[in-house]
């Protein structure tokens, strides 16, 4: 890792309480991700990949340990600061796309801009530009149910980039896609990583899919990092 770290996670732990039973999802995870790196987090189902990503994305808070992103201590943020971090600091995409079905592709991309208090005209302009960047300018006024899985994920990528974050977190973004479309999406993320110097952390259980583009691979098992591999 040559670039200065954008993400510093130290002794990260997350435990869920189900009834009276404590279930550790993540234990003693320490991780550094340099700015502009493409990091793939792999592991079997239940290894803690999504939990790690939710913590890095500020959707969840750790039970122990610290997370620092771009110098900001995310793990110590209150609810409002976390919302601001999610709005500007880290974009996220998900396996099930998580688009709002009643809104058009353009309106879905506009969503983070709405919460950033950007005026309507500027929102439309930026959203259209982002959709064009992911190759969906012609599908701007279609609603998610009218789009293919690959197109929906592209809309989700455009939405994640709306407020210009330095970090893109992708949680199994190819999980619902066929292999050709999966490669296209990973290729898109890699292109964004290279072209915009966007730091990408992508969770995938298919290591073979990401090896071509990732700079680093972090392997998780039972909530712990068992191996890290630098590919470049």
């Amino acid at each position: 890792m040559n670039a200065p770290p954008l993400i510093r996670a130290r002794s990260l732990a997350k435990t869920y309480l189900v009834g009276n039973v404590r279930i550790p999802a993540l234990e003693d995870v320490t991780l550094e991700v340099g700015e502009g790196r493409f990091v793939a987090v792999t592991g079997a189902s239940g290894s803690g990949k999504s939990t790690l990503l939710n913590l890095l994305g500020g959707l969840d808070t750790p039970s122990a340990g610290t997370i620092e992103v771009g110098g900001a201590l995310v793990s110590a943020m209150d609810r409002e600061a976390l919302a601001r971090y999610r709005r500007f600091g880290a974009g996220m995409i998900f396996q099930s796309f998580n688009l709002i079905p009643a809104r058009t592709a353009l309106e879905n991309v506009e969503l983070p801009l709405v919460f950033a208090n950007i005026d309507k005209k500027e929102r439309k302009r930026r959203a259209a530009e982002l959709l064009a960047k992911v190759g969906l300018a012609h599908r701007a006024n279609h609603r998610p149910p009218e789009l293919s899985g690959g197109e929906q994920q592209r809309v989700a990528v455009a939405r994640a980039l709306a407020n210009g974050p330095r970090l893109l977190l992708a949680d199994e973004p190819t999980g619902n896609l066929d292999s050709r479309t999966s490669r296209e999406i990973v290729g898109l993320l890699a292109e964004l990583n290279r072209g915009r110097q966007l730091t990408v952390v992508m969770v995938s259980h298919e290591e073979s899919l990401v090896r071509e583009y990732a700079h680093d691979i972090v392997r998780l098992r039972d909530g712990r990092i068992v191996a890290t591999e630098s590919l470049s």
């Binding site: 999610r86 998900f94 709405v114 919460f115």
Partner: protein
């Protein structure tokens, strides 16, 4: 998040669930409609009474009663003694001399005794037993009587009567103008004390003789009044169906008393009047005239003094009516809470998505607040329209019924602008309060859980 965006989000959500939105807004509409109708009814009653008081000179009328007695009508045993009575003297008799004395008080326009006698009224083949009221010509020409068809009698000795439209209708005459100039028969009864003096009781009890003497007189109807339930000839000192001038009334033999209570007012053989109506030049004369009359030993009663009490009574009535309307509002508010909670459950994942892309708790609350506010605003506005339409319908139906009883058209509901503005504002407030719990609950949604939700 900007307010305009929150409105756009909320309206989009409400449109998506249009049936449920419609039903919830209908609940609010019914609640607000009920409230608007209730309050406008209270205000309508208040306005009618207030207008009637103002239009019929009741504020500038002072009732004078004998000292130390109860008010002139009703059962004395049922009445608490008003504090004013303490100021009257037991020996002051309200007779013609007293009336003349009252007339001389500065500020008094006129004073006339409150004389009523029972009589059988016959007109156009119909007959009805009524109290005939003796009213001077000077009073018959004022707003206190309000002759609508024909004219008031010109002098205290004119052989003519003024009757009410409702009496004519009860006697079978629908057209009041047509009755003017026609003859009305007044048959009074009196006791022939001569029969008692001759001690011919056997004849009395065998039915051949009678203590009761009938005295029938025919008079032309010179004027007809429009009686309203709130005044204008139907309330206050001039309120009977047949009015007759004093000079003409003297020609009719009649019982000297109108109730048994009159007998208790006999003082040294002098039987005074039950009450005397005093017309004042203006409301400013009320207090000085009252003082002078009390100095003469009489008791006074002024409606102007009672008007504050009446106003307070209307406030209580308004509150009771509003409380009844509030029941519907509470039900509507629960409907809003239910709709909004359902909306959270249905949009659980959407809330998670909004949070994932940067919405904070305030943004989520704002969307839900605006949504419930929109229901309240639309429901409130529609409720105003509903309340107005229903009130008009009720007013129409009641007036059709009353018209058959010979009563004129009356607006029972009043709609000042503040009722509509207040109702919409109140509806908005209730809906926002109803949205507090759902909005807080939506804001507390855990995005991780919501994004996993199917």
């Amino acid at each position: 998040m900007r307010f305009a965006d929150a409105v756009e989000f909320a309206l989009a959500s409400l449109r998506k669930r249009s049936l449920r939105t419609f039903l919830t807004a209908t609940g609010v509409m019914i609640g607000i409609g009920a409230l608007v109708s209730m309050i406008s009814f209270g205000k309508g009653m208040q306005k009618n009474v207030s207008d009637a008081f103002k239009s019929s000179d009741l504020f500038s009328t002072l009732m004078v009663m004998p000292g130390g007695t109860e008010v002139p009508s009703g059962d004395p045993a049922d009445r608490p003694r008003p504090p004013l009575k303490k100021e009257g003297r037991m020996d002051a008799v309200l007779d013609d001399a007293a009336v003349a004395g009252i007339c001389r008080i500065p500020g008094v326009r006129t004073a006339y005794p409150d004389i009523n006698f029972p009589a059988l009224i016959g007109f156009g083949g119909g007959e009805e037993f009524r109290l005939v009221q003796v009213v001077p010509a000077a009073i018959a020409a004022t707003k206190a009587v309000q002759v609508k068809w024909g004219r008031p009698y010109a002098s205290d000795d004119e052989a003519g009567v003024v009757v009410s439209r409702s009496l004519l209708r009860r006697l079978g005459t629908a057209e009041p103008a047509a009755a003017v100039g026609k003859t009305l028969r007044i048959t009074s009864v009196s006791i022939d004390l001569g029969q008692l003096a001759s001690l011919d009781l056997a004849a009395v009890f065998s039915g051949k003789g009678s203590l009761v003497v009938r005295d029938a007189h025919d008079f032309p109807i010179v004027g007809v009044t429009e009686i309203t339930p709130f005044g204008g000839g139907g309330a206050g000192p001039v309120g009977n169906a047949v009015l007759i001038p004093p000079g003409t009334a003297r020609r009719i033999k009649r019982l000297p008393i109108t109730s048994i209570w009159d007998l208790f007012r006999l003082r040294e053989g002098r039987l005074g009047y039950s009450a005397v109506s005093v017309k004042l030049g203006s409301l400013r004369d009320l207090e000085p005239v009252k003082s002078r009359v009390r100095e003469m030993g009489f008791t006074t009663f002024a409606l102007a003094d009672q008007f504050d009490e009446i106003t307070r009574g209307f406030y209580v009535m308004d509150m009771i009516l509003a409380a009844v309307g509030m029941i519907a509002i509470v039900v509507a508010a629960l409907g809003i809470v239910n709709t909004m909670v359902m909306s959270i459950l249905e949009r659980f994942r959407e809330i998670g998505v909004m949070k994932a892309v940067g919405a904070d708790d305030k943004d989520i609350k704002r969307v839900f607040f605006v949504e419930s506010g929109a229901i309240g605003l639309v429901g409130g506005a529609a409720g105003c329209a509903l309340g107005w339409v229903v009130s008009l319908l009720i007013n129409r139906v009641v007036n059709i019924y009353l018209a058959r009883q010979g009563m004129p058209y009356i607006d029972y509901f009043a709609f000042p602008l503040w009722i509509f503005l207040g109702a919409v504002g109140f509806s908005l407030l209730v809906s926002l309060v109803s949205g507090i719990y759902p909005a807080r609950r939506a804001a507390r949604v855990d995005p991780v859980v919501a994004l996993r939700h199917d």
